[in-house]
Every structure is written in structure tokens, then in C-alpha cells.
């Protein structure tokens, strides 16, 4: 990014933060309290029956899954209605377009804002689970980085989708056929080896699965199922392809 790109993108980020200042209380529950409740109820409750997975107590085993899936859901959710709304209802993106701010700055500002949101939520969550003794390796410090990559890998293609549609009813399809299957079959609550061989490819293409495995190997200090570079590579493909596609969609939506 050149200096000419940074400043307008930061201006867009500032607008998002100004809006967020008014909404943050409402978001604390979904982005922070809820995942902690998840860990407590499933990790301790279900974990009491399950015992351990692959020699690790269930709570410590699902913590990295829950943190990645929280990042995934935030990145996805914040790139649906808010993005379509700024194109279609408030037309705030059109207002920005009338200034020196360009479509790719709008996209960059949006992604920076989500990085901020996800990173603060992830850090707060990690701090809490630290007291549960769920972080077993110093590699856990890399979890925020993995979640940041996952955020772009998810938010960019979803923003491209939001910029391409005209009616919010399409989001129902996205939630039903992308978010829910991805959340269920990406190794968050159980190892994907438990899945029938036919469904397992769902996990392989899901950016969430790669992030879950990277986070898990980081908090437990174990090796992920694929080489680290392969997992990171898959996330990068989603992030780069999604960003290029979103940049095109944003430009097209704001021209003519």
C-alpha cells in the first residue's frame, strides 16, 4: 500500500469506528460473552462425558475451535447486512465515492475495521481461557494472527457477495448453505476424521477448518494434520482471491 492508499482507507476505518462506538455494547455479548459461555457449557458440560480427544481434555481441545469459529462468524456476519446496507440503504459507500476515496479504499477500510473487531474479541477471549488453563503452548500468541488471516479469507469473499446482490434474502442462503455447514463440519467440536469421507472435502475447502487446525496446533503445541504452509496457503488463496473479487465488485457497484 502506498501513502496515497493508506490515508483514505484509514478515513473509512475511522467512520466505521465512529459508528462502532455507539454499538459496541451490543456486540460484546455475541463476540465475547457468548464464546465464553460456549466454552464453559460445552467444554465443561459435554467435556465431562467426552473426557478427552486425542489425549487432550475436551475443554482445551475445543477452545481453539471456538475462537476461530467466533472470528469466522464475526467476519461473515459483519460483511453481509452492513455491507449491503451501505451500498443500498444508507448509500454511505456512494457518498464516499463522491470524494477522493476510491472503491478499493472502502474495501480496505472495511477489512481493517473487521481486523480490529476480531482481534480485540480474540485477545479478550484468550485472556479468559488462559485462566482455565486451556492454552498449553506459547505458540498460542500466534492465534490472533491466524484469526486475522481467517477474517480476511472470510470477509473478503462475503463482501464480494454482498456487493453483488440486490436483495438481502440472498443472505439466508449464505447462512444456511455456507455458515452453518462450515461451522458444523470444520473440526470445531470434533475431529473431522469422524465425518463420513464424502463430507470431509467440505472441511478441506472451508477456510474455517484450516484456521481451526492452525489455532489448535498453536494452543496445544502439536503439529496440524497438514503442513503449516498448506493450511496457511489455503487461507491465503481465499484471502487474495476474495479481495481481488471484492475489489472488482465494489468498483462495479459504485460506477454507472
Amino acid at each position: 500500500m502506498t501513502a496515497g492508499t493508506v490515508r483514505p482507507s484509514i478515513a473509512v476505518l475511522e467512520r466505521q469506528l465512529t459508528l462502532y462506538r455507539r454499538l459496541w455494547r451490543a456486540s460484546v455479548f455475541s463476540s465475547f460473552v457468548l464464546p465464553v459461555l460456549f466454552v464453559i457449557s460445552i467444554g465443561i458440560g459435554v467435556g465431562g462425558y467426552v473426557g478427552s480427544v486425542k489425549g487432550v481434555d475436551y475443554l482445551s481441545w475445543i477452545v481453539p475451535g471456538v475462537v476461530a469459529s467466533t472470528a469466522f462468524q464475526m467476519a461473515l456476519g459483519e460483511s453481509t447486512y452492513p455491507v449491503l446496507g451501505d451500498f443500498k440503504w444508507s448509500r454511505a459507500f456512494h457518498a464516499m465515492r463522491a470524494t477522493p476515496v476510491q472503491p478499493n479504499h472502502i474495501l480496505t477500510g472495511h477489512l481493517l475495521y473487521l481486523l480490529f473487531r476480531v482481534t480485540t474479541a480474540v485477545l479478550a477471549f484468550l485472556l479468559v481461557v488462559l485462566f482455565f488453563g486451556a492454552l498449553r503452548s506459547p505458540w498460542a500468541v500466534t492465534v490472533p494472527l491466524v484469526c486475522a488471516l481467517l477474517t480476511v479469507a472470510t470477509a473478503a469473499p462475503v463482501s464480494a457477495f454482498a456487493a453483488s446482490i440486490d436483495s438481502d434474502s440472498h443472505f439466508t442462503l449464505l447462512f444456511r448453505f455456507v455458515m452453518i455447514p462450515a461451522s458444523l463440519f470444520s473440526g470445531v467440536f470434533f475431529p473431522i476424521e469422524q465425518l463420513p469421507g464424502l463430507i470431509r472435502p467440505v472441511a478441506y475447502v472451508s477456510p474455517l477448518w484450516h484456521a481451526v487446525e492452525l489455532c489448535r496446533s498453536a494452543t496445544l503445541g502439536t503439529a496440524p494434520p497438514w503442513p503449516v504452509a498448506a493450511h496457511v496457503g489455503c487461507l491465503l488463496v481465499w484471502a487474495v482471491a476474495g479481495t481481488l473479487l471484492a475489489a472488482r465488485r465494489f468498483r462495479r457497484r459504485l460506477e454507472d
Binding site: 459508528l19 464516499m96 470524494t99 477522493p100
Partner: protein, 306 residues
């Protein structure tokens, strides 16, 4: 400030703007008049550098909007047809966040925001949300926002559509002041009174083309008569065309409408005397000066365009 030659905008098979020539001088208030679908908004979008011309030449502030779009936009103020304020920000925040898009410092943004809120008489609403504001207040805020970068040209797309008379007059007064400060104004409208109030010069567009150009006064002189006699007949509804036929030759032109007959003449009283001499007895008569509306309807027709 603005220079266009043979400017064309096509969307697929549809030609929105079909080869127009426009020149706007510094400090001028220039209007695009026309019915819906005449190509006014498409022209404005090309001038505001968000839509690339299909063909023809366009120069804004001496620059090419396709190549130098960002630099041009930095010096334009745009007030779009649909308000696109941030509904979840306060009135003041709408201005301060917008200032940042132009690269202004926070301090400078706040200073200009307060100054502009004063200018559009919204200082007492600075801290309130945008949503509960009236239509007129939102419009004033949008205009204030379009001025945050101290633009060389302010583009206003139908600035007073949908506002009540009080709000329109307040807005006109503010725009007039802006013009007095030397800001170039370019606006579209389909209100004739607005065009007469604000524009030094205007073009009438119809079907993507310019059909007339000049000052409001010169357009009236060229395309209409000095006065118009409006005649109503008790049994007019079906017979207005017959009455109009009986008046032929009086004045310059006779236009039968469903509810009345318009008689265009330079001397309304003389024309009326002649009407009476032909044995016609209208139930009511109004002699008035020609307006831009007469020019507009003459040039663009009376058929409703949607």
C-alpha cells in the same frame, strides 16, 4: 470549469445522454432542466466523475475525469438526488467523518463542520442523530457536507425535490449566498421557479439532447410570448379544441388543454379584446407573464414521462 463536446452516455442499448455540448464558466450558476429521463442525472454523474462517458470529450477543471477522477473529486462538492447521509451518526459526525475522506485534519474538520452547521442553520441540532431530522434539514446537511472541502464547483441533483415551500425557500437563500461567494453551482431541476431563482444560464434537456440554451429571460423571449391569456369556458371540457380553433390567428399560438385554453400573445389585453370580438365568452380569464414553465412545456411537450 466544465467543458463538454459531443458527450454521450449509453447503458447497453439505451442512450441516456446523446451528444451534448456544455460549457460552464467560473462563478456561474448553471442549470440542467428537463423531464424525468431526459438525461440530467446521467450527465451529473459523468461530471462528478463516478460514471465514465461512453464517447465525446469532457473536461472538469481542465482535467480528464477518467484519468484524474480522484484529483477532480477532491475539488467538487456533490449533493446527490437521494440523501446518502450516515443515519447512525450525529449531524456533526456526518460532517467530520466526511472531512476525513478529503484528507483534512480532525481539527480542521471540526472547525469547518461548526462553520457549515452555522451556515445551514443546524447548529442547534449538531448532536442529534440524522434519522429524526425533517427532509429539509437532511437536505441542508447534505449541502453542508458537499461544502466541507471548500469545493470549486458544487453539483446539486434536484436539490429541493420533495421539500415543503418554507424549506425550499431557505435552501434557495443559502444557495444564493453560496453563489455570491463565487462558488460555481451546477444543478438539475424540474422546477421552473427554482431554475428562474437560481440559474444564470440553463439548458433544457429532452431525450438525452439539449433542446434549448440561454438565460431564463432569453429562453422566455425566444420560445414564448411576453404574456399568456388563460381562458376557461363553462362547457370547456369537450369543446376547448373548438374554442381554440375559433381563436386561431389571435396572438402567436393557441394551446387547448383539457381544462383551459392558453393563448400566447405579447399583448394579453389586446388578444382578449379580439377573443370577445369573435363572440366567445369565457367564464374566467387570467392574463399573466410568460414563465419558464411555458417554455419548458412548449419544448418538451405535455406527455407524461415516467
Amino acid at each position: 470549469m466544465i467543458f463538454a463536446r459531443g458527450l454521450v452516455k449509453r447503458f447497453g442499448d439505451f442512450t441516456a445522454v446523446n451528444g451534448i455540448d456544455v460549457e460552464v464558466a467560473p462563478g456561474e450558476a448553471f442549470g440542467f432542466l428537463g423531464p424525468n429521463g431526459a438525461g440530467k442525472s446521467s450527465t451529473m454523474r459523468m461530471i462528478s466523475c463516478v460514471s465514465a462517458p461512453t464517447s465525446g470529450e469532457l473536461r472538469i477543471l481542465g482535467m480528464d475525469p477518467v484519468r484524474d477522477g480522484t484529483r477532480i473529486r477532491a475539488r467538487l462538492g456533490v449533493c446527490p438526488q437521494l440523501d446518502n447521509l450516515d443515519p447512525d451518526l450525529t449531524v456533526r459526525e456526518n460532517l467530520t467523518t466526511y472531512a476525513r475522506y478529503f484528507g483534512l485534519s480532525r481539527v480542521e474538520g471540526r472547525r469547518r463542520a461548526d462553520e457549515l452547521l452555522d451556515f445551514v442553520q443546524l447548529s442547534d441540532r449538531a448532536g442529534s442523530m440524522v434519522e429524526p431530522l425533517s427532509g429539509g434539514m437532511k437536505r441542508r446537511l447534505t449541502i453542508a457536507r458537499s461544502m466541507i472541502n471548500e469545493p470549486d464547483i458544487v453539483l446539486l441533483d434536484e436539490p429541493t425535490t420533495g421539500l415543503d415551500p418554507q424549506a425550499r425557500h431557505l435552501l434557495w437563500e443559502r444557495l444564493f449566498r453560496l453563489k455570491q461567494r463565487g462558488t460555481t453551482l451546477v444543478l438539475t431541476t424540474h422546477y421552473m421557479d427554482e431554475a428562474e431563482q437560481l440559474c444564470d444560464r440553463l439548458v433544457v434537456m429532452d431525450g438525452g439532447k439539449i433542446v434549448a440554451e440561454g438565460s431564463p429571460r432569453s429562453l422566455i423571449e425566444t420560445y414564448s410570448t411576453a404574456e399568456v391569456v388563460e381562458l376557461r369556458f363553462p362547457d370547456g371540457l369537450d369543446l376547448n379544441a373548438d374554442y381554440a380553433a375559433k381563436m386561431s390567428g389571435i396572438g402567436e399560438r393557441v394551446d387547448p388543454l383539457p381544462d383551459r385554453v392558453l393563448l400566447y400573445a405579447d399583448d394579453g389585453d389586446a388578444a382578449l379584446t379580439e377573443v370577445h370580438q369573435r363572440g366567445l365568452t369565457p367564464s374566467s380569464v387570467l392574463i399573466r407573464r410568460s414563465t419558464l414553465e411555458d417554455v419548458f412545456l412548449h419544448l418538451t411537450g405535455r406527455t407524461l414521462v415516467d
